[in-house]
């Protein structure tokens, strides 16, 4: 079953360019997300990969109405997402934040924080809440005896796991994780990722994962979307993308990052220049042109869009040379 279906999602910000030009009505638009499509099935793990600033966080935040998108259609379980009440939507789709360890209210015991989420979304009858809290804490490796403690009594990794337990307490069908382990030690990262994958399998959750870390993307995903400047430039099965990358940007990303797979051998491609300011991006042509080793005059004006690559199983790429 398709859980989340995103179609043509755009999120533009108006940039304040100073007092005077504001008076003259000159506004500039930052196209953080500029028309992306993807879908996630129950039990599927989908990862949005890209450098920081490519709009991947904005994409999921506006897909799930944490921000109001500028344009686009989002369907959740086949129904327009606008039809859901805030409470119902948050009960179905939970977000795990970048700084998840700071998402716990410092003045509320961790047990109370989880219980509050369970009660608010009426997950179980009131008399079972306590047992459910203990159960969830155990699943993320925290002793239920510690549930009366406030968050300050726990380490960063423990808080992260408690916050994940709280997100799961709601019993969502979709979990959205935005770089949930970026601030943690590598060993703790692995621990949490494994825990997350186990839980995802156990509950049959859909998972949307956002990261710039290709190693993590490969480890946890079934499908991957590679984002560049607000667009998905390559989309497909995790193995297809890692073993046969098509878009020059994906190729460059992969060559720049050591991927723990010695079977894959490729030349290092070095990208020239930095990612341009998304404000200055032209509507026409391929946004990757300034840094692309294969760019031609044609690329500057071409009509862009994801197209199936040689009719391969759902492997899509946004490059006129493929």
């Amino acid at each position: 079953m398709t859980l989340l279906d995103v179609d043509g999602l755009k999120k533009h910000f108006t940039v304040d360019s100073g007092f005077l030009s504001g008076l003259l009505g000159e506004t500039r638009t930052l196209k953080a997300v500029d028309g992306i499509d993807f879908s996630v099935d129950a039990g599927e793990a989908f990862t949005l990969v890209g450098e920081s600033g490519c709009g991947k966080s904005t994409a999921i935040l506006s897909a799930l109405r944490h921000q109001q998108p500028t344009a686009g259609k989002v369907r959740f379980k086949g129904q327009d997402i606008e039809m859901y009440s805030k409470r119902a939507l948050r009960g179905e789709a939970q977000l795990i934040y970048q700084d998840q360890q700071d998402t716990l209210n410092p003045k509320m015991s961790v047990g109370e924080a989880i219980a509050e989420a369970i009660r608010f979304h009426d997950v179980v009858p009131p008399e079972e809440v306590d047992a459910r809290v203990d159960d969830l804490l155990e699943r993320v490796g925290i002793s239920p005896a510690e549930k009366y403690q406030e968050p300050s009594a726990f380490s960063g990794g423990q808080k992260q796991r408690i916050a994940i337990a709280r997100a799961l307490a709601v019993e969502p069908s979709l979990l959205v994780a935005d770089e949930p382990v970026s601030g943690l030690d590598v060993s703790v990262q692995a621990q949490i990722l494994n825990r997350l994958m186990d839980l995802q399998e156990e509950f049959g959750l859909g998972l949307v994962y956002v990261t710039h870390n290709l190693g993590i993307a490969r480890k946890i995903s079934d499908t991957i979307g590679v984002m560049y400047l607000g667009r998905i430039v390559e989309y497909g099965d995790v193995d297809d993308i890692f073993e046969d990358p098509q878009h020059p940007y994906t190729q460059a990303l992969l060559s720049a990052n050591p991927v723990p797979d010695p079977a894959v051998d490729r030349d290092r491609i070095v990208l020239e220049g930095n990612m341009p300011d998304p404000i200055d991006v032209d509507d026409r042509g391929c946004p990757f042109v300034p840094r692309c080793p294969e760019a031609t005059a044609e690329c500057e004006t071409a009509e862009m869009g994801l197209k199936p690559f040689e009719g391969d199983r759902g492997h899509l790429v946004d490059c006129i040379h493929r």
Binding site: Y97, N105, S109, A115
Partner: protein, 303 residues
Amino acid sequence: MSQESADATVTERPRQSRAVAGATRVWRIVSANSLSLVGFCIVLSLVFVAVFAPVLAPYEPSAQQLDNTLAPPSADHPFGTDNTGRDILSRIIFGTRYAIAIAVVVVTLETVVGVSLGLVAGYYRGKVDETVMRGLDVLVSLPPLLLAMVIVTTFGINIWNAMLAIGIVYIPMMSRTVRSSALSIREETYVQAAEGLGYDSKRVMLKHILPNSVPPIVVLGTTDVAYALIDVATLSFLGLGIQPPKPSWGAMANAAREYILVTPWPIVFPTLAIAIAVLGFNLLGMGLRETLLYGEDYDEVVE
């Protein structure tokens, strides 16, 4: 409503151990600083005296001894007697009840109205915030005592109008403090996360923002009680607040003013009582400010 009451029972520790833990916590915060410790002792004694006034007072506060007026301090009347021969010590002891009543009225109005306004303004921001804050700016532009005078002029001079007027005029400062605290707390990740869990605005404000803005509320509330005591005493001294023969300290000082040439005691003791009560709340407030808002050792104290 049922959900809220359930909140308190399911995952919390048993009530008794919570009360003990709470008291221990209060004691640790208060005793962290010598100023707040002294202040706390003064305030606690005031409450004690107010509660047990009938037991502690040697005489009825209104019992007149017309053959023994304006007497200087003596063994029978440690603080002397006033112009109708009433025992000044007993009247001062009963006067603590007015001081505590003023504290209760001010704290109640500040927390119920002031905190709610500040929370709403800081949480919703934008137009709501603008409107609330502009309204409060107007109240702030008038000194509390003057606004209280206007209120008693239009609504009549009596104890309730005086206490309510003083309570009302302290609302704006509290709202401003809570607002600025709410403005920064609502940007915290844990508040964003609470909204991410779908919680309604009432829950986010009351269970997630409010508990985290308690320190400035406690500090300001304590200091404001001190100022309110001064203002009510001043109003009463001017004959605009609590009226004689009620044994309020301000009213006693007012009544004794006429006899200042004859004997100073009827005016000295009530005014000292006012100063000590105000000092108690001021010391407590200042000490708490150091501990709760600036203290480098705050974490050690509280955790």
